[in-house]
């Protein structure tokens, strides 16, 4: 059985997926696109089947790649069951996708998630009648508390295609019917009906999509001119009379949902004797209600529970029967009055009666009713009660404190991850640095252990110890810090803060052609470019994501810092700290200017005005945080084992072999192929002030890891920083003096400065390139980034050396 899991972002989809599959997950990409595809087997304890986790989306309209991917999957792959996870605390918005899934004829089971939170507010959702209305099974669950999952899986075989719901707008339904007729004619006339498989695409869905001007469907249909003109005429006629068609669809769908919800939500009356209906749970409103969670979460929902206020059948709401009528005719006014009076006697006694968002007709009706009851309609009352989440937002999005709080948090994260004097105490490493040292010494130990297995001076020893362990070890030693950084960011993401951060930074970043959503990846770039590149995944606008990917490597990552420290310390001892800081700023400046430039030249097109859902704050769930970390770690280790491994071997071969005495053999590094290569490209760097093969080779090894620049310089200068230098980062570089470096071709401090600038900006390391390739999804863009950064580095290095030399000379 193939099961697709679909739902809004923040609806608990990942939690449910993790619960259903456990560790049996595979992460890959959807064919041809960079959108991540997760799939997995259902855990034996729940049953069996293969689950595909579709991206978190709000609709099936093809605005984003993720929506297109989801829709294509549903249409083309035809999963046996679609689990539509719905956030029960946010029914109205979440059911919008459900309605679209029903339009698409998908076999659905609705998983009504976060039922525990609904219970907390004292409200209940009549699951049974919601299921009846939607025409598909609805199973109440709590993914976070692992409740109702078994029942959900048990309900999967019952999934079926719902009957199509008439939209509560007769004009629109009429229009759909007409277009359906036209489309049928068109398709029947076509000889090659397989061009557009009617069986795969339900006709009414096609009609709706044609009316919504869905480019992908229109392209598939390839309508002839007559049909096209007829449809366009119909659409123009409708829009002239009733306004925009797309909006009419959105309105009608919400109206439909509204009708369903209005009678689905019940709560106890004050005396606890019966239920009455309310519109929407006002958040933070606590009733004196005891609802047993287990009761609520045990489907099927006991029908007698509803008898207090009368089952909805008694009330006689049958919106199916009202199909084709204008939404203004629904619901009959008497229904409201009767219900209100029946259930709670008098509206005044009930402070939360009918609170919630309502459409205009209901609102007006309510107001008129309230007027009749001698009560002024009030608009400042009711659902504006702020909940806990809003109160937190008052702090975290405060007009003054938002940004300081944000910066403080980020500073704390970086401090814990990267600082070598934790809490300002010199010599006390932060947890991140401590972990890094631990792993480094582990790798050193392994290296020593392996070294004893090989005979002294053998090429195999050199390959394993210097090439593989040295190279991969240098990368691996940063894994703890990368993971720690990710842990914090996942926590922020999981508790809902990330969308706030994007919100408060948006205005600032817009000036540079970026948006709030690109801020965190840029910031993480100061730590390590690899997780920063991975963090762009949360960005929905592909154009902007690519731009961010282009810019992230300009942020000076932690591994570049040792280069600055060594060179600045040797040549500009008095100004070392200022210089390092200035280099960081230069990185930011280059990123900003590049952003403006690339936006104008390549990533054209207006950026979408900023809008983002702010999910309710909630406590992060350890399980999903750990699983997400494990995913990232696994991905990183796989890359370390594959592409980084290969690169390390290649660099080792190049640096260890050469042609000596007329034959190809192992040689010292200064006679190696790498040196030859260095010599070949060294002249390129003469205008930059460091045109020696030493510097060139240092830069080449810097491609493997940026720390290697320092260790290579150390090795070449003969001071013997040694192999462990690469592993230990800045460790063991104290011996590199200005004179030693001058011997390596840094003829002047200006040349050293130029070298630093070049190191700051040139090609990111192998691990980054590999990650960029994964995130860009193509070599073309990856190479474009590499080419662009090398060019920028070259030009700026040149400028620094040439202009600087004028002053020094």
């Amino acid at each position: 059985m193939t099961i697709a899991l679909i739902g809004n972002p923040n609806s608990g989809k990942t939690t449910l997926f993790n619960e259903l599959t456990g560790a049996n997950q595979h992460v890959g990409n959807w064919p041809g696109v960079t959108v991540e595809q997760k799939s997995g087997h259902i855990r034996p304890r729940y049953g069996e089947g293969e689950i595909i986790d579709l991206p978190g989306i709000y609709s099936l309209s093809p605005f984003s790649l993720e929506e297109v991917v989801s829709r294509d999957y549903l249409i083309k792959e035809k999963p046996d069951v679609v689990i539509n996870i719905v956030d029960a605390t946010n029914l109205e918005r979440n059911l919008y996708l459900t309605i679209q899934l029903i339009e698409l004829n998908a076999p659905i089971v609705v998983a009504l998630n976060m039922m525990d939170e609904v219970t907390k507010t004292g409200y209940r959702i009549n699951v049974e009648s919601l299921s009846r209305d939607l025409g598909v099974p609805v199973v109440p669950i709590s993914a976070a508390k692992v409740q109702g999952i078994k029942e959900l899986v048990a309900a999967l075989p019952e999934a079926h295609i719902s009957i199509r719901h008439m939209l509560p707008n007769s004009h629109l339904e009429h229009l759909i019917a007409l277009v359906e007729v036209l489309l049928r004619n068109h398709l029947e006339q076509k000889i090659k009906i397989s061009d557009y498989e009617v069986s795969r695409y339900p006709l009414h869905w096609t009609a709706i999509k044609v009316l919504e001007n869905d480019e992908l469907v229109l392209h598939d249909l390839n309508l002839d001119d007559i049909t096209k003109q007829a449809i366009e005429a119909l659409m123009a006629d409708f829009e002239a009379k009733h306004g925009l068609i797309c909006s009419a669809f959105a309105n009608a769908r919400y109206e439909l949902i509204h009708q369903m919800i209005y009678k689905r939500l019940t709560r106890w009356s004050e005396d606890g004797s019966h239920y009455h209906y309310v519109k929407h749970a006002p958040e933070g409103y606590h009733l004196h209600t005891e609802c047993e969670e287990s009761e609520l979460l045990s489907p099927p929902y006991p029908a007698e529970r509803m008898s207090g206020s009368g089952d909805d059948d008694d009330v006689g709401i049958d919106w199916h029967g009202s199909k084709g009528t204008l939404h203004n005719d629904w619901p009959p006014e008497s229904l409201f009055i009767a219900k209100d009076q029946d259930s709670c006697g008098c509206p005044q006694q009930d402070p939360c009666d009918l609170v919630g968002l309502e459409d205009s007709s209901l609102q007006k009706r309510r107001n008129s009713r309230q007027c009749r009851a001698g009560k002024e309609p009030s608009s400042s009352r009711g659902f504006s009660q702020l909940d806990k989440s809003d109160r937190l937002d008052k702090i975290f999005t405060h007009r003054i404190w938002a940004i300081p709080i944000f910066l403080l948090m980020i500073f704390a994260i970086f401090h814990i991850t990267f600082s070598s004097s934790f809490l300002g105490i010199p010599g006390v490493p932060s947890p991140g640095v401590w972990l890094q040292k631990l792993v480094s010494s582990g790798i050193d130990g392994l290296s020593g252990l392996l070294a004893s297995l090989f005979s002294e001076g053998s090429w195999a020893k050199s390959l394993v110890i210097d090439g593989v362990i040295g190279g991969i070890g240098a990368v691996l030693s940063f894994v703890p810090q990368i993971m720690l950084l990710f842990l914090f960011l996942t926590l922020l993401e999981d508790c809902g803060y990330m969308s706030r951060a994007a919100f408060i930074m948006d205005r600032f970043l817009r000036r540079f052609g970026l948006s709030g959503k690109s801020f965190l990846p840029m910031l993480m770039g100061f730590g390590c470019t690899v997780p920063a590149v991975m963090a762009t995944r949360t960005m929905e606008n592909e154009n902007e994501r690519r731009l961010t990917l282009m810019l992230v490597p300009f942020m000076a990552c932690g591994a570049r810092t040792p280069i600055f420290l060594v060179l600045a310390g040797a040549f500009f001892p008095a100004y070392a700290d200022i210089l390092v800081f200035a280099l960081y700023l230069l990185g930011i400046l280059v990123a900003i200017l590049s952003g403006i430039l690339l936006r104008k030249l390549i990533f054209k097109g207006a950026s979408l005005p900023f809008m983002i859902e702010l999910p309710r704050y909630r406590l992060p769930r350890l399980r999903s945080v750990l699983m997400s970390l494990w995913d990232k770690l696994k991905g990183f280790l796989v890359r370390a084992g594959t592409i980084i491994f290969v690169m390390c071997v290649v660099i080792w071969v190049l640096s260890s072999f050469g042609i000596a005495d007329g034959r190809f053999q192992m040689v010292d590094i200064d006679q190696s192929l790498l040196a030859a290569l260095g010599n070949l490209i060294a002249p390129l760097f003469t205008p930059l002030g460091f045109g020696t093969w030493f510097a060139a080779v240092a830069l080449l090894t810097g491609f493997v890891t940026k720390e290697s620049v320092v260790s290579t310089l150390g090795t070449l200068s003969g001071i013997g920083v040694g192999d462990s230098g690469a592993v230990g980062g800045a460790g063991g570089t104290g011996g590199l003096t200005a004179s030693a470096l001058q011997g390596l071709g840094f003829v002047s401090p200006v040349a050293a400065l130029s070298f630093m600038v070049f190191c700051l900006l040139y090609v990111p390391c192998v691990a980054t390139v590999a990650t960029l390739k994964k995130e860009f999804g193509s070599w073309k863009w990856t190479l474009a980034q590499v080419g662009y950064s090398v060019s920028v580095a070259y030009v700026l290095g040149l400028l620094v050396y040439q202009i600087g030399s004028l002053f020094v000379a």
Binding site: S61, G243, S247, A250, F503
Partner: protein, 83 residues
């Protein structure tokens, strides 16, 4: 004269809407794509909207019981009427 003043204060752009009051969305003058994205998030003409906060960063609104953050630019393109 007085009537007209009241009329004028009743419809406004969302960016100028009072915090904590409920408005009905009258018109959305954004481009089609943006409008459709808004609609998916629950912002439809005729629907209700409430401004929770309005700072230099942008607005936080309550739409269908979920919270959305919108930029000022966007909020200026939404015509609302107090309800």
């Amino acid at each position: 004269m007085k009537d007209r003043t009241i009329q004028a204060t009743e419809t406004a752009v969302l960016d100028e809407a009072a915090i904590g009051r409920h408005y009905r969305i009258e018109d959305c003058t954004t481009d089609g794509r943006t409008r459709q994205k808004l609609e998916c998030l629950g912002v439809v003409t005729g629907g209700q909207i409430e401004v929770i906060s309005n700072t230099s960063a942008g607005l936080i609104v309550n739409v269908r019981n979920s919270r959305l953050a919108l930029s000022h630019e966007l909020a200026r393109q939404l015509q609302v009427e107090e309800s």
